[in-house]
């Protein structure tokens, strides 16, 4: 949706010849920072941040690279949290199997919701995903295995591959970091694959993609399922981090939150959702102790983003002179 409406001026600023190395160095610095971060910051907060960054990146796969605005991604995130929590706690599955079940469950859910929602486009697509995820919310409210308002509590983290004790906070942190990095690499690979290229062509001009002979519906559904599965990965991990799964994660407010993270950071950039998630989670953390409701700020930030900087923070930076010198491009 971003590219269609925003006509980006042609690149006047050529990338610096060594921009590639600089970018690589920046990634290395960021990674080193994440490795060292638990020594300076509260690990649970960092893990929450990573989980939401992965969730937002998964969401962006759909909005940024396929142009589909899903208003129901909480169903996959929260649904996977329930599946993982149930498998680990009630069935006694090891954590990696529990998370995989969460991913598979979210993908299956994505297949059903996606298959119905792609029958309409644009604004209808958003409304349908919202309605179907609300239906899933009511299912979670009533289904016995979710324990309704109480949620699934005191979920054990268990031993990863039977070896690493995840109840140790640092072990858990590095596990979450590994999942996050793997998730991002998968998204990057997916976006730059031939499949991802076709998705971008659908975003840019759906009619043309159809006339070129691509079965657009199947590609859209593929992207939807992929995005749902990765959102499920984030949800499953989140259930292990906080050791519970509750209704909060399947509400429409959660779907709205992930949209805000992506919009704030920059739709259609790999970095944007991560930055957006970092800001939103930090803000919530900051406001958690005050009685000032976060929704007011969330709402106002939403309005400001839509009115003033639709490219998001990262998108604006990429479009700036420094960003161009470094060879950053949005939608890459």
């Amino acid at each position: 949706m971003s590219a269609k409406s925003e006509t980006v001026a042609p690149d006047h600023v050529a990338a610096h010849p060594r921009a590639g190395q600089v970018r690589l160095a920046l990634v290395a610095v960021a990674l080193a920072g994440l490795l060292a971060a638990p020594m300076f910051l509260y690990p649970i907060f960092l893990m929450k941040l990573l989980a939401f960054a992965l969730f937002a990146s998964a969401f962006n796969l759909l909005l940024g690279y396929t142009g589909l605005l899903s208003f129901g991604h909480a169903a996959f995130f929260g649904g996977a949290a329930y599946f993982t929590a149930h498998a680990v706690k009630v069935w006694g599955w090891p954590p990696e199997a529990g998370i995989l079940l969460g991913v598979a469950g979210a993908a299956a859910l994505g297949l059903v919701i996606g298959a119905i929602a792609i029958r309409r486009q644009g604004i209808y697509f958003a409304m349908i995903t919202l309605a179907l995820s609300q239906m899933f919310f009511f299912f979670c409210l009533q289904a016995p295995f979710t324990h309704g308002e109480d949620g699934i509590q005191s979920v054990p983290r268990g031993h990863l591959f039977g070896l690493i004790d995840l109840s140790q906070t640092l072990n858990m942190y590095y596990f979450v970091l590994a999942v996050f990095v793997i998730g991002l690499l998968v998204i990057r690979r997916f976006v730059n694959s031939p499949f991802g290229m076709i998705l971008k062509s659908i975003r840019e001009n759906e009619q043309r993609a159809i006339s070129l002979g691509y079965s657009v519906q199947r590609y859209k559904l593929g992207a939807f399922v992929m995005s749902a599965a990765l959102a499920g990965l984030a949800g499953g991990v989140k259930a292990l981090i906080f050791q519970f799964a509750t209704l909060t994660d399947v509400t429409w407010q959660m779907s709205g939150e992930v949209i805000l993270m992506t919009l704030l950071g920059g739709i259609g950039t790999l970095l944007g959702p991560i930055v957006g998630a970092g800001l939103v989670v930090s803000l919530q953390n900051f406001l958690a102790t005050s009685d000032f409701p976060v929704t007011i700020i969330t709402g106002v930030v939403f309005m400001i983003c839509v009115l003033l900087f639709r490219r998001g923070l990262v998108g604006e930076f990429f479009a700036s002179k420094i960003g161009k010198r470094l060879g950053f491009r949005a939608e890459s």
Binding site: S5, I116, A126, M127, A131, Q134, F138, T298, F302, L307
Partner: protein, 295 residues
């Protein structure tokens, strides 16, 4: 006791009435959404918040200004409409040239901000609003007792729905509106002030939501979150009906309200989700919606 399908008639009629009342609100709200979408191409996510705003305005008019229900029924929609017009003029109108999804996102943010503000000042709990003295009590219809206020809700919403339909289909202003929906540039070339028309339309849609809010105040309690859960159901109603026709939005609203009421009698567990299930089935069988035209 008289039974139908093994259900006492009174229970059946009672739920039918509840369904009809819910349907009245679905119809009023989806009508407003359809009117706004028709011209502005914006899905007004703030519709639920504007409905809540209507109810709160009535409550505040009563408690602060001592203004009674009947005047509030007139004033509150106007106040909500004026506020909406200000928002449209200053902010929303900047988004028309962009992808329609930005309108949805903007109004979503607006809804969050309004609801958050009211929650901050009034708390999350509901506040009662007494129905006017003329409409209290109930009449015995022979097979059931009908609370007079509930009957009034159904009649009033029906009357307003018909009035709006007549306004759009039969008046000159409505003709401009329909023409501008088809081709705004051409209509502007004929000397019609299309931006003003857009503002008025948004105010009208929001005013309808405000009216529904005042009607709802004595039935449900007045609470900051009364609109946010309703709006998602209304979205489903709009998808089922298809956004193309005004009449379709009204009919679908009442119909789904009644279906929901009946589900409460026959299979209560599904009453929360029946509208969403119907939406899914309609999408599979007739993607454009019951009254919609294939895009």
């Amino acid at each position: 006791m008289v039974m139908i399908f093994g259900i006492p008639v009174q229970a059946l009629m009672g739920q039918l009435l509840v369904g009809l009342i819910n349907g009245s609100f679905y119809a009023l709200l989806s009508l407003g959404l359809a009117v706004i979408f028709g011209l502005l191409r914006v899905i007004n996510f703030a519709h639920g918040a504007q409905y809540m705003l209507g109810a709160f305005t009535a409550l505040l008019l009563l408690t602060v200004g001592g203004i009674n229900y009947w005047l509030a029924l007139l004033l509150a929609p106007v106040i909500v409409g004026v506020l909406a017009a200000v928002v449209e003029r200053t902010m929303l109108s900047r988004l028309y040239k962009l992808d329609h999804l930005y309108g949805l996102l903007f109004t979503f943010g607006l809804a969050l901000a309004i609801e958050g503000t009211f929650r901050y000042f009034f708390g999350a709990s509901g506040k009662p609003y007494a129905p006017p003295a003329q409409l209290t009590g109930a009449v015995n219809l022979g097979f059931m007792f009908l609370p007079i206020y509930r009957g009034w809700v159904v009649l009033a919403s029906l009357a307003i729905c018909i009035a709006v339909w007549l306004l759009i289909e039969k008046t000159k202003l409505g003709a401009y509106l329909r023409a501008a929906t088809e081709n705004p540039v051409l209509v502007q070339a004929f000397g019609v002030n299309v931006p003003l028309l857009l503002t008025l339309t948004y105010a009208l849609g929001a005013g309808l939501a405000g009216f529904a809010g005042v009607l709802a105040a004595p039935v449900y309690q007045v609470s900051p979150l009364m609109g946010s859960n309703l709006i998602i159901i209304v979205f489903a109603v709009v998808v089922v009906g298809g956004m193309g026709s005004i009449l379709g939005a009204i009919v679908t609203g009442y119909m789904l309200g009644v279906v929901e009421g009946l589900t409460k009698v026959f299979y209560p567990e599904a009453s929360n989700i029946v509208i969403f299930v119907i939406m899914a089935i309609v999408l599979i069988l007739r993607p454009a919606g019951l009254f919609g035209k294939e895009a």
